[in-house]
Amino acid sequence: MKLSDVDNEMREQHLDALGDAIAETIGTPAASAAGPLPEDVARVFMQRPRRKLRVVWKLAPVLALGAAAAVFFVFRTQPLDYQLSGTYAARDDAFETPGNGTATARFSDGTAIAVGSRSVARVRARTRAGATIRLERGRASFAVVHRPGARWNVEVGPFEIAVTGTEFDVHWSDDREGFEVIMKSGTVVVRGSLTGAGIPLHAGQRLVASLANKTLVVNETSQSDRRSAAPSEQVVAPRDEPPPPRRARQVAQVAPDIQLRDQPPAESPETLARLRALSPPPFEPAPPPAPQAPPAAPAPQMVVGTALNAGGASCNARPQPQIRFEHAGEGFRVLAGGGSSVFSNPVIDHSYSWCGGGSLRLDSAFDVADSASQSGEAVIYLPRAVDLQGKTVTVRFMVRAPFDAEFSARIVAGQGDRRTGSSYTPHLTAGSWWAISQTFHDTPAGFDTVTSNVHNVDRIILKVDASGSFRVWSGALYIDDISWR
């Protein structure tokens, strides 16, 4: 026998003895201590148990809860329903309106989508939170009811509009690849071609994009209404201009990352008539501004010996500039004013460049005597915000203008509504590529800003002021190779 067994047996004996002592101490109730059988206890015996029923009743709360959950789940997961009204021809989930009719889709959450004439829309998917609508052609007005967790998407060609609750109009012309969003209230985010990581739109804004021209413009509709004569400033992804056919390129060109269309396709008369029917015409690039005044006398034009790749061997230096303006797909956008601004009509030019085969060209019109036309800003929105603290930004640019045009320039970094910049580099002349640099710090000197935030710069601004004695002149500003080190 093991020692532990001996211990256990002894313990059992001792505890048994203790149990006996306890039993003796507390005693045993008398046989009649319980008394007669109480009536309520006996009544329980007479009640025949209904075991099956009891099981059901035990499960009743669970079943009821499950049923309620199922109803709730079904109700919650029930996709939104919708009804069509108006004049339309429906097939599957799509509906098309004739030339003289409109239709409205009213969803069960209160959202209404009014589809204009000659339009085709399709309800691609429906959930309890919203729906995905594809506008295949034409125009539509959306009034999406704001609800917690609402998710609405509008697909328009290669664009997608993410909506939570707002009102806006959408136009889409597939044969011209034109796209327009006019915001009435709320906010949306437009994603797709030309939009980078997405462009948020707020009430009162309008976005116009043209795939054919590779342009995307966001402006304030209210401002444009107020300035009917003078187009407002626009954020533009400049279109890529085809290179001049007769100019022989002197250097090998770097192939652009994306295939760009050299010329817009020829429009049929019907197409042009339909586009003209859209009001306002959103897709056609704004006409170049008329010069405010012709030069007093024909001025001799500058002569540029080497049009492309003027930088020569210096262009082989590494690292390459962050923005080279080789093509419109580099992700930058340009804010260029309309006819009232000094700079307008931004395009990717393939005639003149410091390095590579392209530069950003803006038409320019200066009037030294007019303060509004004395100074121009070429605002280049960067593909993403960058930290320029302690870094030196270099911008190369050239002005093609009469030889005696004189100007000064400076670089400004923009961060939201704040700007940080340098003093002017004066006495610059037309016909030469200039490079100006500015090193940015949090506390700038010599500039009239009160605060700065160079850690989060979203745009680089080349500010050009006309000076000298030649009062009125027009020409072109070429910007190439923006870098920061």
Binding site: H14, G19, D20, A21, I22, A23, E24, T25, I26, A33
Partner: protein, 208 residues
């Protein structure tokens, strides 16, 4: 009182199995006088078990009635008519454990800051046994209801292991293992009590 004293003999007035089986049959058949028979025959057992479970104090008539109400309402669940007594003891232990839990809650909510209930007077002629009884129930108040159940049924009520297993509704091996564990825990507490240390003195390691 000393553990080396000869253990007291326990007289158990256990009816024969046939008696229990016929009573069970009468109960299941809903015979008119079956509940009175069951009450008369089995209520002393229930009262005794309740007294031993809760310790010195008045008889728990209220709990005894609750035990029989459950016993009568669940009599159709009895599978082995010879196990009527174990069936009733199982119900009684369940009621006692529930009452213990309720009493703890009541004590947390209403009673003294120390959580101790007023001492009930303990009868008996042996002062050592009275003290030992008082001390052991203080110890049992600090262990889990299951440990208390196993200790009481095994060492005070002197039930066989198989009977305990059937009453608590667990396999015999599990019951053995849990009884050994409960015994170790309670013995460990007893070894720190001067009035009870003799019952575990000289033994091997009692607590792990």
């Amino acid at each position: 009182m000393h553990p080396r004293n000869p253990p007291l003999s326990v007289v158990r007035s256990a009816p024969t199995a046939d008696d229990d089986a016929s009573l069970a049959a009468a109960l299941i058949a809903r015979e008119r006088d079956a509940p009175t028979q069951a009450w008369t025959r089995l209520s002393p057992l229930v009262l005794r078990l309740l007294r031993r479970y809760f310790g010195p104090g008045p008889d728990r008539q209220d709990l005894c009635q609750e035990v029989f109400m459950r016993f009568f309402s669940r009599i159709d669940e009895l599978r082995d008519r010879n196990a009527l007594r174990s069936f009733l003891i199982g119900i009684c232990l369940g009621v006692a454990q529930n009452e213990l839990r309720r009493a703890k809650v009541r004590r947390w909510i209403f009673l003294t800051q120390s959580g101790d209930l007023p001492d009930a007077p303990i009868g008996g002629s042996n002062p050592e046994a009275r003290e030992a009884t008082e001390r052991i129930y203080k110890i049992l108040a600090g262990v889990s209801p299951e440990d208390r159940t196993l200790f009481v049924t095994r060492y005070i009520e002197k039930m066989e292991l198989a009977e305990i297993a059937e009453s608590v509704g667990r396999p015999l091996s599990t019951t053995k293992r849990r009884l050994a564990r409960a015994t170790r825990r309670i013995a460990a507490r007893m070894s720190g009590d001067p009035a009870l240390a003799d019952y575990v003195a000289g033994l091997g390691k009692v607590a792990r």
